[in-house]
């Protein structure tokens, strides 16, 4: 049995974690911690309950909407239902609506999804393509680092046992930007990604000026693949550029064979989903996609089905 420490402030959490290194575990929504605890994967003497810390929750637009700060305790369901994020960070909202079930999304938090370190987690790829920084609180104060540096391996982050993820900050250009998250699963819902892919592009007219491509579930940590993104920059995202980005992403990842797919199948799926996600991101960036409408999870558009 674990005791529960209900913290009143971020500083109190950090102090408690520092005084109980190795025997305390922060609990956010609980959808991973409660399962891990029941299965004996973790044995905390103390659960540090973060739910009463209002400073950690919320979606706040700053600098005239050019920056959004997302508290680590923000529920996945809140991301899913945010209309502004739906228009301006479509990949993030697409990933949110695919995560778990309504019940899980009502409970689970963005910080928990990141800090659990699951390679197939839904939140990292879209946050990576939206160039997220994360703010971390520790005994010596706050530090900010690129999100890509958070992940250390399956189930592991670089955070010290007495550090706490406080918030994420994303830059949201006013216009000419589009993003998309797609995933492959065995089942349509209540499943973990076999492959998760996010792409974001910024365009000037119809030419791509910046791009990012991120992958989940196909390496020990979520990947940001610069080579794949570079294949898109300077193009009008024609079929050849999208396919080249897909090939480069497939070459850059290192999937394993497990119940969700073989290594070679996952690599092929990466290539296909990167191609489709890049194309949808470009359609959004150029205003050719209806605002707020999510893409089908596998990126197959109705016209291609027929």
């Amino acid at each position: 049995m674990a005791e529960v420490f209900a913290a009143g402030s971020i500083e109190e959490v950090v102090a408690f974690l520092a005084g109980h290194r190795g025997v305390s575990l922060p609990i956010a929504g609980g959808t991973d911690v409660m399962v891990d605890k029941r299965n004996g994967r973790v044995h905390p003497e103390w659960l540090v309950d973060l739910t009463s810390l209002e400073a950690l929750a919320g979606i706040e637009f700053r600098e005239g909407g050019k920056v959004v700060r997302i508290g680590s305790m923000t529920r996945i369901r809140s991301l899913e239902l945010d209309p502004v994020l739906g228009r301006r960070a479509a990949a993030l909202v697409e990933a949110a609506r695919l995560l778990g079930s309504v019940q899980i999304r009502t409970m689970a938090t963005v910080g928990g999804n990141l800090c659990h370190g699951t390679p197939s987690a839904e939140m990292p790829p879209p946050l990576l393509v939206h160039d997220a920084d994360c703010e971390v609180a520790g005994p010596s104060g706050r530090r900010v680092m690129p999100l890509v540096d958070l992940f250390a391996g399956p189930g592991r982050t670089v955070l010290e046992p007495d550090e706490l993820l406080v918030a994420l900050e994303l830059r949201l250009p006013d216009s000419g930007v589009g993003s998309c998250y797609l995933r492959q699963t065995v089942r349509w819902s209540m499943d973990l990604a076999g492959v998760g892919v996010a792409a974001a592009v910024e365009v000037d007219g119809s030419t791509v000026t910046k791009a990012r491509v991120a992958l989940g579930a196909v390496a020990p940590v979520p990947l940001l693949v610069a080579e794949a993104a570079n294949a898109l920059v300077g193009t009008e995202l024609d079929a050849g550029a999208a396919a080249e980005a897909g090939r480069r992403a497939a070459a850059a990842c290192s999937p394993i064979t497990d119940a969700r797919g073989t290594e070679s199948y996952r690599r092929q799926v990466v290539a296909v989903l990167v191609e489709r996600a890049a194309r949808i991101a470009w359609l959004r960036a150029t205003g050719s996609w209806p605002a707020g409408v999510p893409a089908p999870a596998n990126g197959v558009l109705p016209s291609e089905v027929r």
Binding site: V4, V35, Q103
Partner: protein, 153 residues
């Protein structure tokens, strides 16, 4: 640990283990066994209850985190001994067979209909995607939700 919580409109003050789940509290402490003990990993939805009107899987809900909030279980759905529209529609449409998933299905439906008075079939499927049923094949459950929505509208 002492906990104060409102379940189905009744206030309870109980002495409990600090890391108890909401599910264990409902079943073992309050004796409200309508909420089912299913997979215990958040996959099956048989333990779904509402917290402040939002659906959660009570097996993964740390009780301490819902202190002072308003919990509704399947036992709190009826109106003075009469089935509510959702329960009645599940009965009328054969939306329950073995019945194990039914409390969770009904709680997810209650949450859906609070947020969306006339959901489409695809919105219903999406809202119930965290509730597994091994008997009905889901079609009759969808029929039941559509009927309940129509009766409430």
């Amino acid at each position: 640990m002492r906990i104060e919580i409102v379940v189905n409109g009744d206030r309870y003050v109980k002495e409990v283990m600090a890391d108890l789940s909401l599910l264990d509290f409902l079943r073992e402490v309050l004796g409200l066994t309508g909420t089912k003990w299913g997979c215990l990993t958040g996959d099956c939805g048989a333990c779904t209850v509402l917290v402040d009107g939002e659906p959660v899987v009570s097996c993964l809900q740390l009780l301490r985190q819902v202190e002072g909030r308003d919990v509704t279980t399947i036992e709190g759905v009826e109106h003075s001994g009469e089935l509510d529209e959702v329960q009645a529609a599940f009965v009328a449409n054969g939306g329950a067979q073995c019945g194990f998933c039914t409390p969770g299905m009904i709680m997810s439906t209650e949450a859906l209909l609070r947020a969306n008075r006339s959901p489409s079939e695809s919105q219903i499927r999406e809202a119930l995607s965290g509730n597994l049923c091994r008997c009905t094949g889901y079609s009759k459950i969808i029929d039941a939700v559509l009927q309940a929505a129509a009766e409430r509208a």
